[in-house]
């Protein structure tokens, strides 16, 4: 079994502004790249690849480079992190090679010349095991495989992007005014999410304070992104991001089925809502029935104390 993993090189921080946020994003990307490299090693004779020479990800030059190498060296399985960029790349790569493709795998086992992949379907409402014939391209949910402690940095082989394959022209980057500058949702181990119960964008300062303490990404319900209180990229749920962090904190979110679809696979769920009947409590490990405007400052204070004593 030859198993490759692709090291994600998102946007070079310099191309975005190069602030702390971009460095955080880079670190998060590095962690997922290590996770899938470790998985590749566990599954077979592994190789970690990165495509260099692009300031900014674009599908065709990256896919062109990887596909050419794959045709020459015939790996059995290519793992890509299921980040937004990774999923874009993986799908086009699978199509280019004509291989099987499964997205957002949370488990991979090789048996009898095929890969059995665990993934969710129906907007996260069903868990499925699917058999993919090999060779295959699989995108892997960040955080699905815990990094073995002391995992060595893989040797990464660099291949140049196929610049001639580009058919699009990059114009500019338009930053979102309210973008959080925190680590991307897809890769975060802790997510603090706010819903309509927060009453307005001005109240996000409280949410951000807690998120910063916890090193968390910010999430939101669709009621919040639709109202323009928070940028769309923070939306969690069926039509937003699917997240599977170790800790998901839902503040003033009712728990509509479409929201639950995006977060019920989180390891631990904390919900704060003043309505004891709110559906979010049906999936919560810890629930607080009460006014979030009273609870949140007190909780942030307690977390601070706990961190200080740790």
């Amino acid at each position: 079994m030859k198993v490759w993993s692709i090291v994600e090189r998102g946007t070079a921080p310099a191309a975005k502004g190069g602030g702390d946020a971009d460095r955080r994003e880079e670190r998060a990307q590095r962690r997922v790249s290590l996770e899938i490299a470790a998985k590749a090693k566990e599954l077979g004779e592994s190789k970690a690849l990165e495509v260099t020479g692009l300031e900014r990800y674009s599908a065709l030059p990256v896919v062109g480079a990887i596909a050419a190498k794959a045709k020459a060296e015939s790996p059995d399985l290519i793992l890509v992190a299921a980040t937004p960029t990774g999923r874009d790349l993986a799908a086009r790569l699978a199509a280019r090679l004509g291989w099987a493709y499964a997205s957002e795998a949370s488990g991979i086992a090789i048996e009898g010349g095929a890969a059995t992949i665990t993934r969710t379907m129906y907007a996260g409402k069903v868990r499925a095991a699917v058999r993919a014939s090999l060779p295959a391209v699989v995108s892997v949910r960040p955080g699905a495989f815990t990094l073995p402690s002391g995992a060595a940095e893989p040797a990464v082989e660099s291949i140049p992007a196929d610049a001639g394959a580009e058919k699009l022209a990059f114009q500019r980057f338009e930053p979102t005014a309210a973008a959080s500058g925190r680590i991307p949702l897809a890769e975060a181990r802790v997510v603090v999410s706010g819903g309509r119960g927060l009453r307005g964008p001005e109240n996000w300062k409280m949410v951000e304070e807690l998120a910063d303490l916890l090193g968390a990404a910010l999430g939101a319900s669709r009621a919040v992104t639709d109202a323009g209180w928070r940028p769309n990229e923070e939306q969690v749920g069926q039509t937003g991001r699917t997240v599977t962090p170790d800790l998901y904190i839902a503040l003033g979110i009712s728990g509509a089925i479409q929201h639950l679809a995006g977060m019920t696979s989180s390891k631990v769920i904390v919900a704060v809502n003043k309505d004891p009947e709110a559906d979010i409590f049906k999936v919560a490990d810890y629930g607080v029935v009460g006014d979030l405007f009273e609870f949140l400052p007190a909780f942030t204070e307690e977390v601070k104390k706990a961190k200080a004593s740790a």
Binding site: K16, A59, L60, P84, T85, R87, D88, A91, A94, A95, R96, G98, Y101, S103, T120, Y122, A123, G124, K125, V126, R127, A128, A129, V130, A132, K167, L168, A169, F170, R172, F173, E174, P175, T176, A179, L214, E233, Q238, T239, D246, L247, I257, Q258, T264, V268, P276, F281, A284, Y286, G287, V288, V289, G290, D291, F295, A298, F299, E301, E302, A306
Partner: protein, 265 residues
């Protein structure tokens, strides 16, 4: 400009999906079907272009069982101009790459300036068909877009390409394409419109031509992905719920639980 939107009919987002007795498919008996949410955004984006420039025409296509006709009717009622149904036994068991091949045949016939897909279908959750369609056509694609419009018109009012807004962490990248392109849609700026009453009446009268998938030279064999098992996600709930407490105490207790019990802080 002619636009083509690829839509899939999937369970309505409010439906609780249940696994069927065979343990490898869903129980379709209780399901209401709808246009997959991202595809609905794609329809909305296309119709917004038509609002801005009435010379634009919008066609929708789906590959699927005959019930998918309802999804096409819904799209027509929203304001799309024409609909194409690719159906037949083969259409029901196609995998993503085969669907893309069938769609490519339709694109080659319809010759749209660009094709819109959803970011992913809300049944298989794959996010493959848009990219695979672009690959089959030899076109570029841009995924997770929220907006597109003709690039600034040249001196003679000519359109010099299309600008596309791709949602990424922290903002949008704007890409320009000069030729045909496949776009996969993350969201529209406005909510998808509801069908209007006259729209519904008009849609009822429209003919929806049907093509047989096998007549497009696409066969169902050789699917590379097979569902082995389906099950509901692990049950949750039975969590500790604190009511009516003093919020300071509750907060302290929660921090303790997260540290000592959940071992997470």
């Amino acid at each position: 400009m002619k636009l083509l939107v690829c839509v899939k009919q999937t369970p309505d987002s409010t439906v609780r999906v249940k696994v069927a007795g065979d343990g490898r498919s869903i129980d379709a008996s209780q399901i209401t079907w709808a246009i997959s949410p991202y595809d609905e955004y794609a329809v909305e984006l296309a119709l917004e272009r038509k609002d801005a420039d009435p010379s634009t025409t919008v066609a929708v296509v789906t590959v699927g069982p005959t019930r998918s006709r309802d999804a096409l009717r819904q799209a027509l009622a929203m304001g799309c101009d024409e609909a194409i149904l690719v159906t037949g036994a083969a259409a029901e068991s196609l995998d993503g790459l085969a669907v893309a091949r069938a769609l490519a045949k339709v694109v080659e016939e319809a010759k749209p300036a660009l094709v819109l897909c959803g970011r992913q279908a809300s049944d298989d959750d794959q996010g493959l068909v848009g990219q695979a369609l672009a690959e089959t056509l030899g076109w570029p694609h841009v995924s997770t877009i929220t907006k597109f419009r003709p690039a600034d018109a040249g001196p003679a009012g000519s359109v010099d390409g299309i600008d596309v807004w791709r949602e990424v962490e922290g903002g949008h990248e704007v890409w320009r394409t000069s030729g045909p392109v496949v776009l996969t849609v993350q969201k529209s700026e406005k909510e998808p419109r509801y069908p209007s009453l006259p729209g519904i009446m008009k849609a009822k009268k429209k003919e929806i031509p049907e093509k047989d998938a096998s007549s497009l030279g696409v066969d169902a064999g050789g699917a590379k992905l097979e569902i082995v098992k389906m099950e509901p996600p692990p049950a949750r709930g039975g969590g500790k719920i604190v009511k009516d407490g003093d919020m300071k105490q509750t907060a302290a207790e929660l921090v303790r639980l997260l540290r000592e019990e959940a071992k997470i802080l």
